[in-house]
Symmetry: C2
């Protein structure tokens, strides 16, 4: 049975949501979950939430915690017994198959890179996010924040890692790879993109060319490559746009009776939209390029997000994602 | 009376929408509009649209056109009599006050930089966009695509230009200036942002610090500074997110009767939302840093967008925006 390590105290709503998510996951998927964190705290949370012992849930003690705003490198050096490092060591020692955390993203990335190591041929890890697009299409975008400054060779590695993830986990047969730019023509973009374009033309199978931000959801590409600063900026801007829209809908309920009636009728459709596009459903994003399966969940993860992050970890392990990436980069 | 030059044949829906926009603008604002383009074509369009002669609308002949995908530098060198260059020369010769175009953005930027010249102290021009945020706030964001590769000194110039635009046109008294990054802390971001942060701390009055994409609409800053690649990527990604949402609403009408009834009730509220957030209302974005008022309208501009772009040009001229920027950068 596949064993997933969950950072029990990681995330804004831990341990409540992490524990509830873990219990939901073991009912839904054939996985064992190791809850890593201070044993007394985890047990206390279990009692408070009236969660019984479960044959597929175990606690692994780790007596230190990394705060959400702690420096990744300092916490790595000083807190060798943090839930993050204890959890990752279980992966490197082959005692478990994947690590899931909604805690400090930077700390998880740093620790994963040092504890698991990078795969041969990979210089920088990348975070991949899966978006839903038109016609129920899925698109993998990376890097969403692991590597802020990149060179063309790094983007090339991202392209291959994204292809493997799209194939082995998202289930896309021959992924079309796009390079995020601000115009279709090869000479558009900043220097990095202009230098990367000919490299992709030469080396990336199924290269679509440059793709603009407004086309990401239009099912033109299956994988979109960018540097981590641009990717993370986009992701957060998108969150901001959606939040603005949602705020507006909430405002309608206060000011317009007609609008409120309309919202009631729309409820079913809005829920479907939320289900398709919400990050809670996505669950978490894999950190690609390290020698192990690591899923980074959103800091504000609910129990549903945690459950789905565990599902993603399970899928990545059962599809042999890490080996697929290692093979692809070797070639 | 303030005289605005309009690129009559610029934009995907020209000359129909440009002409209708110009006629709407001269009724709404105290401006004269010079339609620049091939005289025969402009007159033919006037006749086809049954537009009468108007005392505040004149045609200025220009016999060449720049296509939407022509190279900016080549078109600048080869087409000295394009509507863009003829129009911009009217500004540099003080025969008119502002230039508005929905044509090839790159060609307008290049020509504006050469024909009008940059203001002293400005190395790179920047395009500024005004977004509506929470609580009816407005936020100026720049650069949205004029200068893809930037150094810290350029971002500093953008901050001062953005401040002037926010003060003199948007009407914000003491603008709070933010630096777009992927985390609040000074050490977050790519190398450019990390190098720029201390410079802003030292030199930018009312510096808010780093701001993330999801906070742009939350009325924390009045001006948000980024490089042109990131800004343009964000803008287009935002367009993509909104289009996806709108597509979804359109889909509801085909599949759900309850949802359709809901949409009917919501119509009024959705129209208000569109009015507040749609680019048609924004009209166009100023190209800041050149010695003249240049408004770049969206390629897909409707007559309403063109009318509002002319309004923006009128406001920038009447508020003395260019002098304000020149003064600010001199200091």
């Amino acid at each position: 049975m596949i064993t997933i390590v969950l950072d029990a105290m990681g995330g804004d709503f831990a341990p409540r949501e992490t524990l509830l998510g873990a219990y939901a996951a073991v009912e839904a998927y054939p996985v064992k979950v190791l809850l890593v964190g201070p044993e007394a705290d985890v047990k206390a949370a279990q009692r408070a939430l009236k969660l019984p012992d479960h044959p597929h849930i175990h606690i692994v003690h780790a007596d230190e915690l990394v705060g959400m705003s702690e420096s990744p490198t300092q916490s790595f050096r000083k807190k060798k017994n943090s839930s993050i490092q204890v959890g990752l060591r279980l992966i490197s020692e082959k005692k478990a198959d994947a690590f899931v955390s909604a805690g400090n993203t930077g700390a998880v990335m740093t620790a994963a890179t040092f504890v698991l190591g990078r795969l041969p041929g990979i210089d920088r890890p990348a975070i991949a996010t899966v978006f839903s697009g038109r016609e129920h299409s899925k698109v993998v975008m990376l890097d969403m924040g692991a590597s802020a400054d990149c060179r063309p060779a790094h983007l090339l590695q991202f392209a291959e890692m994204g292809r493997c993830y799209a194939q082995s986990v998202v289930g896309i047969d021959a992924p079309r790879i796009g390079l995020l730019s601000i115009g279709e023509e090869p000479e558009k973009g900043n220097q990095l993109i202009q230098d990367t374009f000919p490299l992709f033309q030469e080396k990336v199978a199924n290269f679509y060319g440059n793709i603009e931000g407004k086309e990401i959801f239009l099912n033109k590409c299956d994988v979109v490559v960018c540097d981590g600063f641009v990717g993370n900026s986009l992701l957060k801007f998108g969150e901001g746009v959606v939040a603005l829209f949602m705020d507006y809908f909430k405002g309608i309920r206060k000011t317009s009776i007609l609008g409120t009636i309309g919202l009631l009728f729309l409820m079913g459709s809005l829920k479907k939209f939320k289900k398709e596009y919400d990050f809670e459903e996505t669950g978490g994003a894999p950190l690609l390029g390290v020698d192990g399966v690591v899923i980074i969940a959103h800091g504000r993860s609910s129990q549903k997000s945690i459950k789905h992050a565990i599902r993603n970890a399970y899928q990545a392990v059962s599809h042999g994602m890490v080996d697929a990436i290692a093979d692809a980069v070797k070639e």
